[in-house]
């Protein structure tokens, strides 16, 4: 049942009640902040408050969570105090109760991220960090801490009807060419003015590398920074014209104009993608038109450091836990910001200072237990001893390290029971291959009672720690916290960090599962209007959409919903839902193309009627700020779209090079052939043993080109064995060579015409006769032993063997094997 709650301008009514609504508030559906524990603020700068005590618990909560963090002179307390009198005086030092009253005018406890305090610092108003988003996140965390006590419940998602907008024609990079980019933008401007920093080879190398010599690399980096439909809104232009970032010609407006003209020229080469008028399509939305669906519900009660990598540029990953001091990490080496929050380490690291890192030492030693939590995407499963999260001093000294070895996570931890290097490590079982090159939630916990544990994707995957729990008395506070490498840069881990958090308590399995279920990254609810198609006011298809990585979007949780609870549609058919992007259906990733549903109010749950469990990944084109999505349907209500199927592949055969028309016999054929032409049973022990030992040395394919000398050697060995058995068996030999006397001395046995008694049976049986494709009978016979009266064949085989003094049977076997192991039997 949808919770609809009226609150000020936005209606807050329970679904099912009468009344036309355009707003729905959904409680606790994946986005609310339900943390009730106070964040750890043990190292906030000390305040010198000596005014009246907090009048209520809520004032006390405000003081602990917010005031203590902002009252210092280098924060809000520098101005919004009772002496400077900058209103509202929510950081005044004289009376915490008055500060509390003032703070209530600029804080929204039901939606902390919507607080005035957050939006002010988020737009750069005296943000104490270089990234105003990081200040906003930290301020949000503080207010959430306060709200955790005050609100007593989770944040609620507000579904507001988006402005109805038809999918517009737009320009897509699918129709743009790299060559035009190179000629019109890359060559004239980017490599000329930006290559001092924005290339991988620059001494001042700075991501993104849109000025890289390699046009493909530059093009990929530049795409999100050029707005083809509105060049003036391109990030390149704004960065020059409004943010005065390294302009040239001493005029930022001129530089911006030049950049805009170049992008315009490039955009002019890209044809408009016109939406197919026959499509049955919803209204269109960009991600930024959606409602934020993430940000809360993580268990953060003992969180002492948090990196969400939201910045998207620069060289700092901010610790936005709100727990001072922030361990802001300096990115160095080869790294890239990852679309949808994250940073990818290619060959670098993100390291904090030892002084800031000391926070971990201090807060963890205080509790004696801790948790490392990370959302990571290992780049591969081939790296070893690759440090993912480490608090260490080099290869030989660490307080803790979570690292990758092939398919395993290893957890090294220094205690009184382990070495100063944290050995022996606790590892996930190798056979389980739990580490995959996919987005994973990995949590490593340590407590003196349970020792070390590793959870992957919410499940405990390690056995009991074989090392007893010890104390952390040996921990050093001079180490540095580092991601993606060892502090000495000798333990590179390649992969992507989406989120890293440190807690100074052991998260329970339930808390770990809770954080896993929340997921990572920024998610939005998009409401695709379909009321005009099905004639149901405020009817939408809702999707949760996130930027999946730098190259794609993830669509999940499709629901049918009406924001006006008086609308109770029923029995509306929906078939073949597809996701459109920038005027055309996405060419790939259409997971809902086979959807077949009937839309009915009776199926409504919290978010409406669920339509599918599966998600869809579709490619990113221009970037999350610019890509415009819509939905299409093969059938929705009464409207249909007749989709044509792609035609079957037509394969045009091509001629192959002429191949040999003959080949050699293969192993079993050779054996069977030898058995057939010698009459020896292939099961005969000597023959069989020889064959089995030679089987894999014989030819395995028929191609003459693949015939090797080693094959011939094996054939010879087998032939000799067959002939040996044939001739040594008196009965068999007598039947095969009728009339030949093997017991005579060699000279007599092979005298004159006697030779034919050996040669003729061999040649006839092995070569056949009357076959034109076989060698000439006389040639073979003469080579083997025929003696003419004029002595033209003095060096035939038999004579040569006779001259060597060989015995009758030996000569016979030699002659036999010469024929049997030759081409006359081998070639087919």
């Amino acid at each position: 049942m949808t919770d609809l709650i009226e609150s000020g301008r936005k209606g807050v009514i329970r679904a099912g009640l009468a009344g036309a609504l355009c707003i729905a508030l959904l409680g606790g559906c994946g986005g609310g902040a339900q943390t009730t524990d106070n964040p750890v603020t043990g190292v906030t700068p000390p305040s010198s408050y000596s005014g009246p005590p907090p009048a209520t618990d809520d004032v006390q909560s405000f003081k602990l969570n917010v005031w203590d963090n902002i009252q210092a002179s280098n924060r809000c307390g520098g101005c919004h105090n009772d002496s400077t009198s900058q209103t509202p005086m929510f950081a005044r030092h004289d009376d915490i109760n008055l500060a509390y009253e003032a703070a209530n005018t600029v804080a929204n406890l039901s939606q902390p991220s919507d607080s005035r305090l957050v939006s002010k610092v988020g737009t750069g108003h005296n943000c104490w960090l270089s990234d105003s988003q990081a200040c906003a996140d930290i301020m949000t965390t503080w207010i959430e801490g306060w709200a955790g006590d005050a609100a007593g419940g989770g944040r609620q998602i507000v579904l507001e009807p988006p402005v109805a907008s038809a999918p517009g024609s737009s320009k897509s990079y699918a129709n743009a060419t790299e060559a035009n980019f190179a000629a019109l933008v890359h060559g004239p401007l980017l490599t000329t003015y930006c290559a001092g920093c924005h290339t991988s080879q620059s001494p001042n190398s700075q991501q993104p590398y849109f000025a890289e010599d390699d046009v493909s690399v530059a093009y990929d980096a530049a795409k999100p920074r050029m707005a083809l439909d509105s060049p003036v809104d391109s990030r390149f232009v704004v960065r020059l014209g409004s943010e005065f970032h390294n302009c040239w010609d001493d005029s930022c407006s001129a530089s911006a104009a030049e950049m805009q003209a170049a992008i315009q020229a490039f955009a002019d080469t890209v044809p408009l993608t016109e939406i197919n008028p026959l499509l049955v399509n919803s209204n269109a939305l960009r991600i930024v038109d959606g409602v934020v669906a993430s940000g809360g519900n993580r268990y953060e009660g003992a969180q002492i450091a948090l990196w969400e990598f939201k910045t998207g540029q620069g060289a700092t990953a901010f610790d936005t836990s709100g727990v001072e001091p922030a361990i802001n990490l300096t990115l160095s080496g080869n790294y890239e910001w990852f679309g949808g929050w994250g940073v990818t380490i290619n060959d670098g690291k993100a390291q904090g200072t030892t002084s800031a890192s000391k926070k971990l030492h201090d807060l963890i030693r205080g509790t004696g237990e801790y948790t490392i939590e990370a959302w990571v995407v290992p780049a591969n499963v081939s790296q070893e001893m690759a440090r993912i999260v480490s608090y260490s001093a080099g290869d030989d000294a660490r307080n803790f390290t979570l690292q990758q070895t092939l398919y395993d996570y290893n957890f090294l931890h220094r205690s009184t029971e382990t070495s100063l290097n944290g050995d022996p490590a606790l590892s996930t079982p190798s056979a389980a291959e739990v580490l995959q090159a996919a987005l994973q939630h990995v949590v490593a916990t340590y407590s003196p009672v349970d020792g070390r544990r590793i959870y992957v994707n919410g499940e405990l995957v390690t056995q009991a720690d074989p090392v007893a729990g010890g104390s952390l008395v040996d921990w050093q506070d001079t180490f540095a916290f580092v991601l993606g490498n060892e502090v000495s840069s000798s333990g590179l881990w390649q992969g992507t960090f989406r989120l890293v958090a440190m807690h100074n308590r052991v998260l329970t399995p339930e808390q770990i599962l809770q954080n896993f279920d929340v997921g990572v990254g920024e998610k939005f609810y998009l409401l695709f209007g379909i009321e005009d198609i099905i004639n149901v006011p405020t009817a939408y298809i809702l999707f949760e959409v996130a930027q999946f990585d730098s190259y794609g979007y993830l669509f999940t949780q499709p629901h049918f919903i009406t924001l006006d609870s008086t609308q109770q549609p029923d029995g509306i058919p929906l078939q073949g839902l597809r996701i459109g992007i920038n005027g055309a259906e996405a060419p790939v990733g259409q997971s809902y193309a086979n959807m077949d549903q009937t839309l009915s109010y009776s199926q409504f749950g919290e978010l409406g009627q669920p339509l599918a469990e599966i998600g869809a990944v579709v490619p990113l084109e221009k970037g999350p700020q610019d890509d415009e999505f819509f939905l299409t349907f093969d059938l929705l209500g009464q409207q249909t779209y007749a989709r044509t199927d792609n035609p079957p592949l037509v394969i045009t055969p091509t001629d192959l090079p002429p191949a040999s028309r003959f080949g050699v016999r293969t192993f079993d054929e050779i054996n069977a052939t030898m058995a057939a032409v010698t009459t020896v049973d292939p099961a005969q022990t000597d023959v069989d043993l020889t064959y089995q030992s030679l089987r894999q040395s014989l030819p395995t394919i028929e191609s003459p080109e693949a015939f090797l000398a080693s094959h011939q050697v094996a054939i010879a060995q087998l032939a000799i064995e067959y002939c040996n058995v044939l001739i040594e068996d008196p009965a068999m030999a007598a039947a095969y060579f009728p009339g030949f006397d093997f017991n005579q001395a060699a000279a007599a046995a092979f005298a004159g015409a006697n030779r034919d008694l050996i040669l003729e049976p061999l040649i006839d049986r092995m070569m056949g006769f009357g076959i034109q494709t076989q060698p000439d009978y006389a040639d073979v016979r003469n080579e083997l032993g025929y003696v003419t009266s004029d002595g033209t064949r003095p060096d035939n085989l038999i004579d040569r063997l006779l001259s060597s003094g060989a015995a009758t049977r030996s000569i016979s076997k030699g002659v036999c094997a010469a024929v049997l192991g030759s081409a006359v039997t081998l070639v087919q």
Partner: protein, 404 residues
């Protein structure tokens, strides 16, 4: 007295070859001749037919018979000669055995012990069992009971190993029996050679059962997944274990992985109840219970497809892979391996694949020009229209490649 008048001279080239071989005579070996220019008459054609089909040269009397059958001026036909050659046991014990052996293991090695997969292929061809049931029949071939072999076992290969070790003649000693009668599988869970013990041991072991599909595609449809790669099909049935952003880059998935998995996963779902249990050494079938391997690495992409049953759907009936030629009289979906075997076995690609494999085995080359392709097309037509008889394909191919 034997007639030697027809032993022809092979000309200068041959004499050179023979002279060269003299060196090897010193050790009593006549080496191989690899170039034999000659014009083939009926006798040579008959020998080649025999060589290619039986793997061994014909005896003198068989050669005479076959020569007469091949000779256009004498009684009989060349096809008769081919069938005569196939009466040689080595057609079954050597040619067919090695024809099928590579299909039964992942390495596609021919050096594997005789097994029930190979024996069933040999038996089906011997008995003219319609070969389009190869992937669906409740059938397995075993050694005759009188041989005293260890009985067929679903947990070991001893029956066939001993048959091979004793060099039992498969032409005369193989008998058909219902697979369900000896393997313990219900009849409706049998799927021809796919559910033989050898196939299970090779392709249902560990993994995700996609191997059974991929190797069946490779061995019996003559296409690997690269040839059926189509990124345009809906990916709604791709399981959770396929990372959608491998190493953090969804382009890999959207350009590569998706193109095979979108079609393969909904087809391989047919094997959802099968496994090869390495502990018992036998195939495992769990009707109604999807094997755990279908949920391996389910967190790689939680929004992927979770297999609920063994229903399969042939997405390749749409889009470019229609070129595989599916049988329009079949529904293109079903439950379990048997109906999937029907789907595959009655496709044009299956028939064409069998003919092409025979062509390669007999002609020792793939079809290489228009004449070869026309011949293959004709043989496919003949194969599909006259009961999927493999011996006929062997015979027609041997005659086509008997030389001229």
């Amino acid at each position: 007295m034997k007639d030697r008048t027809r032993k022809g001279s092979l000309g200068a080239g041959h004499r050179t070859f023979v002279a060269g071989l003299t060196q090897l005579f010193a050790v009593g070996i006549l080496s191989a001749a690899l170039a034999l220019p000659a014009t083939a008459g009926p006798r040579e054609q008959a020998k080649r037919i025999h060589d290619r089909l039986a793997g061994v040269p014909p005896s003198a009397s068989v050669l005479d018979t076959m020569e007469a059958e091949v000779d256009p001026f004498r009684a009989g036909t060349a096809l008769d000669a081919a069938f005569t050659a196939m009466e040689n046991p080595n057609f079954y014990n050597v040619t067919l055995k090695n024809f099928a052996a590579p299909w039964t293991n992942r390495e596609r090695s021919v050096f594997v012990p005789l097994n029930d997969y190979i024996a069933t292929v040999v038996g089906m061809i011997r008995d003219d069992v319609p070969f389009n049931t190869l992937l669906s029949a409740d059938l397995v071939y075993v050694g005759n009971g009188s041989l005293g072999l260890p009985p067929y076992s679903s947990s070991n290969n001893n029956h066939y190993a001993e048959m091979e070790q004793r060099q039992i003649d498969m032409m005369s000693e193989l008998s058909p029996t219902a697979q369900s009668a000896v393997s313990g599988l219900p009849s409706n869970a049998t799927a021809g050679v796919m559910t033989t013990r050898a196939a299970a041991e090779a392709f249902f072991v560990a993994g995700t059962n996609r191997a059974m599909f991929r190797f069946t595609l490779l061995n019996h449809m003559c296409n690997d997944l690269e040839q059926v790669h189509d990124v345009n099909l809906p990916p709604d049935r791709i399981r959770q274990d396929v990372a959608r952003s491998p190493g953090g880059d969804s382009r890999l998935f959207l350009n590569n992985c998706i193109g095979c998995h979108n079609g393969m996963d909904p087809l391989a779902q047919a094997f959802a109840y099968y496994n090869f249990n390495v502990d018992t050494g036998s195939i495992e079938y769990t009707p109604g219970q999807v094997q755990p391997k279908y949920f391996n690495n389910e967190d790689n992409f939680p929004f992927g497809f979770r297999t609920p049953d063994d229903r399969w759907d042939n997405y390749w009936r749409a889009g470019q892979n229609q070129f595989l030629g599916w049988d329009n009289s079949l529904p293109g979906s079903g439950s379990g391996a048997k109906s999937l075997g029907d789907e595959l076995g009655n496709s044009a690609a299956f028939a064409s694949c069998q003919v092409r494999k025979v062509f390669q085995a007999v002609c020792l080359r793939p079809p290489q020009d228009a004449a070869d392709r026309t011949q293959v097309d004709q043989m496919v037509m003949s194969f599909t229209s006259s009961g999927y008889l493999m011996k006929q394909v062997f015979a027609e191919t041997a005659v086509y490649c008997m030389g001229d």
